[in-house]
């Protein structure tokens, strides 16, 4: 690469030259705009974060019937807003491990039953009050209390007692749980002064930004918190979030330069969006998966051969191609993929009409099988159901598809009817995922998977602090679900977000899309 181009790109990174003139001069040197742009973005990355400026975000999910109380947040807009003004004790890092936030240290007793979090010194809330262990205790009490409507109530249910001692917050559990810190990184658990018991919706926290204006389901404006403790987070001076639920309008807003980043690009148009000038699409593997779920205790799905027949009758490769347009990976009939920290690979199950026909015959089932689906069970679910119908037909299995209305699907069909389409957004750890949906006693055991051995292994793994042994336990559990469970998991979906060249600093993260909803906080405006 030409020295001249390197020099020029550094000038842009230092903001001594604007981008338009840079592209002009690069053109004069004989470089195409695409080459020059790629070169520029790496120079900007190398220069490091630029402070100041405004980052404008278009995001989906928000609604005018939302609440500002972090306990009641249910969608990605609320999660992103929570992250602006608030902070949890610990947070997921880019590798799927944990990094310290409001806790500066954490430790557990060897039985993983008592956990101690040392609260960070010298942190103040945006109302000027300084952070203490009592605030942390009050926050957890509010979310875990009997009256609580918090979305984090379930994950806090294993706690026996909590107390604050000096600058330490101590949790005693009913049973061992090596994953407790992961649970505490939940996006509802923003530490608030006195736990938010006085005014839960005040949006006062220790986060990198202070909310200046909040119109639910419409727009949020935030300003940098001048007293924020962590210099590595929060580069832009101002952040503006606009809720745009219409996919086309959200992408158009990025394209017309009204926003600098946009969440959830539809897979169908991802490659087209990527070709726009000055726009970069980020397709990031996630723990989210699209599923066909059978109730393993309801006829005809209580027959293991029938379940296996259907598992062999689905064409996973085709689903990834035609439903995700390549933005994802094949599933293997377990809810776990490489996004999880203790993942170990199992042999990939693939489409095999002969095996499917063999197991179908062995099951003794006669007649067609009813599959229920709806548009909102996952994007493209009715199409995926038709693909499944076609691939099953080749194995001599007849699937009848019933299209259900989107309204009421989650209350009337999912977790009620024996065979339907659905999705899971995944969890931070295997334990969380299995406890939510595969433990015999789980409320959301939507495949009616009752396996005593599995349950015992799950509890044993929680107490196991030796990573190698724990990995093996999870591998065994994965095999049980894969071979015996009611889950048909054809694909894991990627999170697809897009950013313009007016911002830089994208990194591939774990958790949710938009860099685990930290994109506006971790990226910076390039001017």
């Amino acid at each position: 690469m030409s020295n001249e181009l390197i020099y020029l790109s550094k000038q842009v990174a230092k903001q001594r030259l604007d981008r338009r003139s840079f592209l002009g001069r690069a053109g004069a040197l004989g470089f195409t705009a695409a080459t020059a742009n790629t070169f520029l973005s790496s120079a900007v990355m190398a220069q490091g974060a630029v402070k100041g400026g405004t980052i404008r975000v278009a995001i989906e999910g928000g609604s005018s019937s939302d609440s500002l109380d972090p306990a009641l947040v249910t969608n990605s807009t609320g999660t992103m807003v929570n992250r602006l003004w608030g902070e949890p004790l610990v947070e997921l890092d880019d590798e799927g491990g944990l990094e310290m936030r409001l806790a500066s240290e954490m430790s557990a007793t060897p039985d993983a039953q008592t956990w101690t979090f040392v609260i960070r010194d010298g942190v103040t809330f945006s109302n000027g009050k300084s952070l203490t262990a009592d605030d942390v205790l009050a926050t957890m009490e509010r979310h875990a209390g009997e009256e609580s409507k918090s979305g984090a109530l379930g994950i806090l249910s294993g706690i026996k007692s909590m107390r604050a001692e000096g600058n330490a917050f101590i949790v005693e559990l009913d049973g061992p749980n090596a994953d407790l810190p992961f649970l505490l990184s939940d996006y509802h658990l923003m530490i608030q002064p006195n736990g938010g018991k006085d005014d839960p919706s005040a949006m006062i926290g220790t986060g990198p930004y202070v909310i200046k204006s909040a119109e639910l389901g419409v727009r949020f404006v935030a300003e940098k918190n001048p007293n924020y403790w962590n210099p590595d987070l929060g580069h832009a001076s101002n952040i503006e979030i606009t809720v745009i639920n219409d996919d086309t309008a959200r992408v158009a807003a990025l394209q017309s330069g009204q926003v600098d980043m946009c969440s959830r690009v539809p897979p169908k148009v991802a490659s087209l969006v990527g070709r726009m000038s000055g726009v970069e699409v980020h397709s990031v593997p996630s723990a989210g998966h699209y599923v066909f779920i059978m109730h393993a205790n309801t006829a005809p799905f209580d027959n293991k051969d029938l379940r296996l027949a259907l598992k062999y009758a689905i064409n996973r490769e085709e689903m990834v191609d035609k439903i995700l347009f390549g933005n994802g990976s094949q599933g293997n009939d377990s809810p776990i993929n490489a996004s999880y920290p203790l993942f170990s690979e199992a042999e990939q199950r693939s489409y095999d009409p002969d095996k499917a026909a063999f197991h179908f015959k062995a099951s003794g089932h006669d007649g067609s099988i009813l599959l229920r689906t709806s548009d909102n069970s996952f994007p493209g679910a009715p199409d995926a159901s038709q693909l499944f119908q076609q691939s099953a037909k080749a194995a001599g299995i007849t699937l009848d598809i019933k299209r259900e209305p989107s309204d009421g699907y989650w209350s009337e069909v999912w977790n009620k009817q024996p065979f339907c389409t659905s999705y899971w957004s995944g969890r931070a750890t295997q334990d969380a995922m299995y406890s939510t949906a595969y433990l015999s006693s789980a409320d959301w055991n939507d495949t009616r998977f009752f396996n005593e051995q599995f349950d015992q292994l799950l509890f044993a793994a929680r107490a196991e602090l030796d990573t190698a042994k724990r990995t093996q336990m999870y591998a065994d559990m994965g095999t049980m679900v894969r071979d015996d469970g009611g889950l048909i998991c054809p694909m894991f979906n990627n999170f697809i977000d897009a950013t313009s060249d007016r911002v830089a600093g994208w990194a591939t993260s774990k958790g949710f899309g938009m860099m685990n909803m930290y994109a506006p906080i971790r990226m910076w405006a390039t001017g």
Partner: protein
């Protein structure tokens, strides 16, 4: 009392009666919806105790009739109740949103009504010649396209390619009037294209109807130019049906624009209503229903009154 005043008073009292009837319908309709409000709020965390607590808190244990009257009493003094989902005052939320909706409707009306009437007059003047055909064809084409498609087309052309107007029309209180007008230009144009044809066709039809009359022939024989005949003699006599269809379209601009609001991210009433329907927030749905009904009835009332006033036989009784 003059017959005009009497007629108008009659219309207004009928309108008020109608609003009461609608309020009964709305209330009854939301009562017979399947599922209990308390159950749908609590969802999966519903236990018998907290269901009972919430029912008492919401007053669901009282008989429907007394709930209806306390609701009606609140509305009389401008209190529409509190939203179940967010716990905020519905009157405040609707106040801001209704203002936005009326602003967008007003801008769209100011563009579309004059254009529609002018095009209608032109179509009559050049009846069955090419200007008439071009006007009819283009306006009918624009009404035949779904709103979201027109919206996307305008976004593509004026927002993305030409960059004249913003594609996101989110307005907020700190905006100046100029910035607001700029922001709502694309949604207003979309709505204009949607309502234009109806008003234009009605104007054309109403005037053509009058053009058969003997006094038009007289005017022609006097040697008046054809446009002057249409403007001075035909339009005033055709005003009643034209006003009716204009008011119908204005009502549509206020109560029927949820698709446009979604595409252009405009914080109006439609989006607010839909968000709360999805969460079974009954008080908000009732309040929005009533506001929409009142607007619809009010505008139709206005159309009636203008028709009455524009009728010389009623203005000058023998």
């Amino acid at each position: 009392m003059s017959p005009v005043l009497k007629l108008i008073a009659q219309r207004i009292s009928l309108g008020i009666l109608l609003i009461f009837a609608v309020s009964i319908l709305i209330f009854a309709g939301t009562q017979i919806l399947p599922g209990d409000v308390a159950e749908s709020i609590l969802g999966q965390s519903a236990t018998p105790e907290n269901l009972a607590n919430l029912r008492a808190e919401l007053g669901l244990n009282e008989p429907a009739l007394s709930r209806y009257f306390s609701w009606l009493g609140g509305i009389m003094v401008g209190d529409l109740g509190t939203a179940l989902t967010s716990g905020t005052s519905i009157s405040d939320a609707i106040g801001a949103r209704l203002g936005n909706t009326l602003f967008l409707a007003a801008v769209a009306a100011m563009i579309s009504v004059p254009i529609a009437i002018l095009l209608g007059l032109l179509a009559v003047r050049y009846k069955d010649r090419w200007p008439d055909k071009v006007i009819s064809a283009t306006t009918l084409a624009s009404i035949s396209l779904p709103e979201f498609f027109i919206g996307y087309l305008l976004i593509l052309v004026f927002g993305v390619k030409l960059g004249w107007f913003p594609t996101v029309a989110t307005v907020f209180p700190e905006m100046s009037l100029g910035a607001r007008l700029n922001a709502v230009m694309l949604p207003a144009l979309t709505l204009t294209l949607v309502v234009l044809a109806h008003m234009m066709r009605m104007t054309r039809a109403a005037i053509l109807n009058v053009m058969q009359s003997a006094y038009i022939e007289t005017a022609e024989l006097k040697g008046m130019t054809s446009f002057k005949i249409i403007w001075k003699h035909a339009l005033p006599n055709a005003i009643s049906p034209v006003v009716n269809v204009v008011m119908l379209n204005l009502a549509y601009l206020i109560v029927g624009v949820v698709v446009v609001e979604v595409i252009f991210v405009y914080p109006g009433m439609g989006q607010y209503l839909v968000d709360h329907v999805a969460k079974r927030d009954v008080p908000v749905v009732q309040a929005c229903g009533l506001v929409f009904a009142a607007i619809f009835i009010g505008l139709n009332l206005l159309a009636d009154i203008i028709s009455i006033l524009s009728n010389p036989r009623l203005r000058h009784p023998k």
